[in-house]
């Protein structure tokens, strides 16, 4: 029996084993481990307790303050400072400060720090995003990060893999976000618990990288250990461009694919050629329905950004909808490009101007409102449409507020109409 791409990557990094099977507990070497301003302080505290005078490898760790940044209050500033001090003390070069930083799951691929075939752990649940590069990338806790910074290893239980096959050409305004919302509506928020989700099929082959990142980003919302897409020419083009531009210390990689006779615990097929844009209603990411089923859902705030949909093609799509239109007078539109580079490109391409002229605000990269941090919190009774990834109770602010998840085009159209809307209605 052959191996899936996830099994292959785990095996090639595993210590002291020659074969693996789902259910096995293994220890494996990591190519990169990272954390943000919320999760790294605990990791750093635990690391320091070991009393080691150096980290396992200064180039294979990244520390990215992105959640409560720019520092929203004293205590957030102190937490971010913990990262800065530790990075300086231990010579960690991949520390990203304001002015060059970004939301971690957009910044790291952009910088060529994650490569096909890599085994990556991050102290953030959306680490699964990087599976779009054909890497095994999974979210872990702060203590796992501390252990990895010390020893360059992590323990894993080998997951079974569920294969999701997507067929058909997406309609206009339908992208990776809609495909994943549709899949999670099908399998549920625990439908893939402890499993690997492998996205494949002709639709995936057609998807640009930004859409692939969106899909893998939300694998965790089905409970998955990781989401992954086999690397192909699209992946290679993206990775080579990043390596050329940023010249990171690690340049070589070994792209792998699933064997033809690999075993899957479940295989599901979706023909998406007639799929409409999907919207997930409060309070579960699995509560997704076609956008046409939402009539007269009044909206107070629209957020376009996050590690799910804050990339340049997301902003391009939103700007195309908003150009020469005005944001509804009852709506606050908050646009947050995911990295400094995307921020600059959005200015150069005129997207920023489109947002601002429409009456929206264009902000510095941050996770901000996605987790109810800052830069757009909801008060009691308020409703938001967001291109983010979670809509649990209280996610974006007051426990009695409501978040609908969508793609950037739906979010932009909703900002104009003042209610959940499709661009065709404008």
């Amino acid at each position: 029996m052959g191996y899936t791409i996830t099994e292959k990557i785990l095996l090639s990094h595993a210590l002291d084993v020659k074969h693996i099977a789902p259910g096995d507990f293994i220890k494996a070497k990591v190519d990169l481990c990272f954390g943000n301003d919320i999760t790294s302080p605990i990791a750093i505290k635990e690391f320091r307790r070991l009393g080691k005078d150096k980290v396992f490898n200064q180039n294979r760790i990244a520390l990215i303050p992105d959640h409560f940044i720019p520092a929203k209050d004293n205590r957030s500033a102190n937490q971010a400072k913990v990262l800065e001090s530790f990075a300086k003390e231990y010579g960690i070069s991949n520390y990203f400060e304001l002015g060059e930083m970004g939301v971690e799951h957009a910044l790291l691929p952009e910088r060529g720090l994650i490569l096909p075939g890599d085994l990556v752990i991050g102290a953030d649940s959306h680490t699964c995003t990087h599976g779009a590069l054909g890497a095994f990338a999974t979210g872990v806790g702060s203590t796992d990060l501390a252990y990895a910074m010390a020893f360059g290893e992590c323990w894993f239980k080998v997951p079974e893999t569920i294969k999701l096959v997507f067929k058909g050409k997406p309609r206009k305004w339908v992208g990776g976000k809609d495909l994943i919302l549709h899949a999670i509506a099908d399998i549920g928020v625990s439908g893939a618990t402890y499993r690997s989700l492998e996205f494949t099929g002709e639709t995936i082959d057609m998807l640009p990288m930004d859409d692939r990142f969106s899909m893998c980003n939300m694998a965790i919302e089905a409970g998955a250990k990781n989401g992954i897409i086999e690397p192909d020419k699209t992946t290679e083009k993206y990775v080579k461009a990043a390596l050329r531009k940023y010249k990171p210390s690690r340049k070589s990689y070994k792209a792998v694919k699933s064997d033809k006779d690999a075993a899957y615990s479940d295989v599901r097929e979706y023909n998406i050629s007639r799929l409409e844009p999907f919207v997930a209603a409060p309070h579960l990411p699995s509560n997704g329905k076609p956008v046409s089923e939402f009539r007269n859902v009044r909206v107070d705030q629209v957020v376009i950004g996050s590690c799910t949909n804050g990339r340049i093609s997301d902003l391009k799509q939103a700007a195309a909808v908003l150009k020469n239109k005005k944001v509804n007078q009852n709506v606050r539109l908050v646009v947050i490009p995911a990295t400094q580079a995307i921020y600059k490109e959005a200015i150069d391409e005129g997207y920023a101007e489109a947002f601002v002229r429409a009456g929206g605000v264009f902000c510095t990269p941050s996770c901000g409102p996605c987790l109810g941090g800052h830069m757009g919190i909801l008060s009691e009774g308020e409703v938001a449409v967001a291109t983010t990834n979670r809509n649990f109770v209280g996610r974006m602010g007051h426990p009695k507020s409501f978040v609908y998840l969508s793609n950037p085009a739906i979010a932009a159209a909703s900002a104009v109409k003042g209610k959940i809307a499709h661009p065709a209605e404008l």
């Binding site: 210590l15 002291d16 084993v17 259910g23 096995d24 507990f25 293994i26 220890k27 919320i38 999760t39 302080p41 605990i42 505290k45 635990e46 307790r49 070991l50 959640h67 409560f68 209050d73 205590r75 957030s76 937490q79 102290a123 953030d124 649940s125 680490t127 979210g139 872990v140 806790g141 702060s142 203590t143 796992d144 501390a146 252990y147 010390a150 020893f151 323990w155 928020v189 625990s190 618990t193 402890y194 965790i220 409970g223 250990k225 579960l284 987790l371 109810g372 941090g373 979670r390 649990f392 109770v393 209280g394 996610r395 426990p399």
Partner: protein, 199 residues
């Protein structure tokens, strides 16, 4: 080793935003986090919970974010263990790594009600209601995961490993070798890793 505690019951999909909302993630102090434990699932939990109490919940407990603040706040509130129908995977590993005992047992969840006194045999993974004979079995942890939990968490386990390596090197040095060789250290590490790699 046995735990005995009062049951606080919760439903399915209790997520980490409910266990410890983002507005409290400005601190890593267990005491401060404990004050807001389970706040968006039950605003009165933190004031009602007593040392040794047990959380019993449905499926997919701890889904959502990777925030380790979740098990830290639960432990900080004095909760002795969490029994659930199933756990979300990042919460599962965070609980193990921080030494919060967790048990997967849909049968126990079905039969334990709010206010019951539950008894948990940690070593055997057996759960029962105080005074009753029926025993519900929880999923048993394999191999080195048991050692991590026994040791009080991942970093305690790591510290023990480091101590073991250091004393091995001292023994080797004492036996006549003049310096710690890289090969010698690696050989010890490999031997220990091989032991823990078995299921």
């Amino acid at each position: 080793m046995k735990i005995k505690g009062k049951v606080h019951k919760f439903g399915d999909n209790i997520n980490t935003d409910e266990i410890i909302p983002a507005r409290y993630l400005y601190t890593i102090d267990p005491g401060e986090l404990a004050e807001h434990c389970m706040e968006d699932a039950d605003p009165r939990f933190a004031s009602r919970v007593n040392e040794g109490d047990i959380i019993v919940a449905g499926e997919n407990f701890g889904c959502g974010s990777s925030r380790e603040h979740a098990p830290i706040s639960i432990k900080g509130a004095g909760v002795s263990c969490v029994i659930a129908g199933s756990f979300a995977r990042i919460f599962y590993r965070n609980a193990i790594n921080t030494g919060l005992p967790i048990f997967t047992s849909p049968e126990a969840v079905k039969n334990l009600k709010k206010g019951d006194t539950a008894v948990v045999n940690i070593t055997k993974g057996e759960i029962s209601k105080s005074g009753r004979k029926t025993v519900y079995k929880a999923e048993v942890f394999p191999g080195f995961i048991k050692e991590i939990i026994k040791g009080g968490g991942l970093m305690a386990y790591a510290a023990k490993m480091e101590q073991g390596k250091a004393s091995q090197s001292r023994k080797t040095a004492g036996a006549g070798k003049s310096k710690k060789t890289k090969g010698g250290k690696a050989a010890v590490k490999k031997k220990k890793a091989g032991k823990k790699g078995k299921k």
